[in-house]
Amino acid sequence: MMRKIYIPYIIFALIILLIPVFIHSYYYLGVLIQAGYFSLICMGLSLVMGYAGQISLGHAAFFGLGGYASAILTGGHGWCPWLAMLAAMIISGVLAWLIGKPSLKLKGHYLAMATLGFGEIVYIFFNAEIRLTGGPSGYTMGVIPYLTIGNLTIDNEFKHYLLTWAIVLLILLVNLHIIHSRLGRALRAIHADEEAARAMGVHTARFKVWIFVLSAVYASLAGSLYAHNILFVAPGPFAAMHSILFVTMVIVGGMGSIWGAVAGALLLTILPETLRGFQDYNILIYGGILLFIMLFMSGGLFGGGRLFLAWLSHLRGRKKEVADG
């Protein structure tokens, strides 16, 4: 079982590490770094959607909380970046717990509504608390430092790329272990049939809350990394539209597949860059993709691929039957 996980994992890690050997353009590396942040968020969201069976429409808020907490603690109060990152993750985790606890106790999709409201409140907060966050024009009260590891300062796109994707690979490994652990089986049981899972003694509400908290912590981590890369935060990237974008990425990759989440994040970050001429059309493209996948293949591209393979082998089986008969 474990071998089945590790082989694709190692191949993927090698590809990721080899990319900077071939791509030297800081611009393209920048796009891939962005995809790395989104992969972190989407992996968490994929656990929430695919395994706990809940939608979160507020993950951009946790992304933003991470970014702003890092910016304010390091830039304004002179904290060590890593400590600030940890503090940001704790803040996001606690807030996620406060939202998740009551809304996940209820049956149904109340989490979607609660997170939608929460996301808007956080966005308004970023815009309105000008003395703390700098308001709509962004944080300018202090200088956000680059991250450092020992004596090494992560100050160019190449180093950022390696750091970001090292963290993505680490979290990917953690997630693969989670879904193949007792917790993962419990979550899948919840997704398949909540009543049955509860009858079997799975503490459904508690598991769902913890997975939601975990996903918020991932998003916060991505936000902190983002702040220390761009060295600037403004409310723009943390608006509700981006929460929907993250959900779209997860759905494109196929809910409940950690690999799918990474693939969806990569695809939907790189695709719009290749279609730069159509920048204004982004909103329509995302909407169209989301609608199409929901209508025709609710398993996502990966699920669709699996269906296609099943159909192929079904065809081959039939041919064989004909030949044998």
């Binding site: 959607m49 409140i121 815009n127 959900v247 169209g288």
Partner: protein
């Protein structure tokens, strides 16, 4: 403003009762109502009455097309798929509006001409407020008559109560879903058309209408129509008060905060019954 939230909340309830889904594109229909109002009434210079009718008609048509193409074609959808489809629809409607109407904020004169106000209790009330309140009154009475005295209205109530039983009684449940989408988008469009002169509308303002309307629907108890109207008005008043007394930045946050608090403390809403809340699928 409260009346608009009340109308949007009614729109949510009608679809929710018929299908059990929350239509996250509801706010976009309000926005579209406003946009078409500007188009017909402002740009094309169609007389007021016709402009209202035309914008409501067009948006209703969009709502019906949406139901026919996206909701009705699904064979065995899960609630999550349905919710995501409404999210996708809202993005697409937003995008198309952005292209056709541009990114700028649209404004319009009050229906009674100019930007007149009427002095009342020491304050000044824009004349448009009376149009909005009047619309709410008309819609509510029309809905009361529809749900209590017509066959289609009674059938819709039966579907909301127990869909399987209603179908066994020979009520075409699927057609009721279509009807509910049409009715709901018509109400939302009307709300958008009358609010247009007071609150400026751009392609992004649908989301706020939607989420506040949903807040009102939750506060009043999801699926509970009189509750929705009362809760919408309460939200509107609280919002204006908070803009005056706390901070105008946070006036948009207050209805959302109330939405969260209600979800946490009493998810069945102020007026909904505990039992009805538990029976529902969503």
């Amino acid at each position: 403003m409260g009346s608009i939230y009340a109308l949007a909340a009614l729109g949510f309830n009608i679809i929710y009762n018929a299908t059990g889904i929350v239509n996250l594109a509801q706010g976009e229909f309000v926005m579209l109502g406003g946009m078409f109002m500007v188009l017909f009434g402002g740009t094309l210079g169609v007389p007021l009455g016709f402009a209202i009718i035309a914008s409501v008609f067009v948006v209703t048509l969009i709502g019906i097309i949406f139901e026919r193409t996206c909701i009705n074609t699904l064979k065995n959808p899960t609630v999550m798929v349905l919710v995501m489809i409404t999210v996708a629809a809202s993005i697409i409607l937003k995008g198309v509006t952005m292209f056709l109407a541009g990114k700028e904020i649209h404004t319009m004169e009050y229906f009674s001409g100019g930007h007149g106000t009427v002095p009342l209790w020491g304050g000044k009330i824009p004349t448009q407020t009376f149009w909005v309140l009047g619309t709410l009154a008309v819609v509510v009475s029309a809905l009361v008559i529809f749900f209590n005295f017509t066959l289609a209205g009674k059938a819709m109530r039966a579907c909301a109560f127990d869909r399987t039983a209603a179908r066994l009684m020979g009520i075409p449940a699927r057609r009721m879903v279509l009807l509910s989408f049409g009715l709901s988008s018509a109400i939302s469009a009307l709300a958008g058309a009358v609010i247009m002169p007071i609150s400026m509308v751009d392609y992004q303002s649908g989301a706020m209408f939607g989420i506040k309307g949903f807040g009102a629907a939750i506060l009043g108890g999801l699926g509970h129509n009189p509750g929705a109207v009362a809760a919408g008005l309460i939200l509107g008043i609280l919002e204006s008060l908070s803009a005056g007394y706390i901070s105008s930045h946070y006036k948009d946050a207050l209805p959302l905060l109330i939405l969260l608090i209600v979800l946490f403390i009493k998810p069945s809403g102020l007026f909904g019954s505990e039992a009805a809340g538990r029976l529902k699928k969503f």
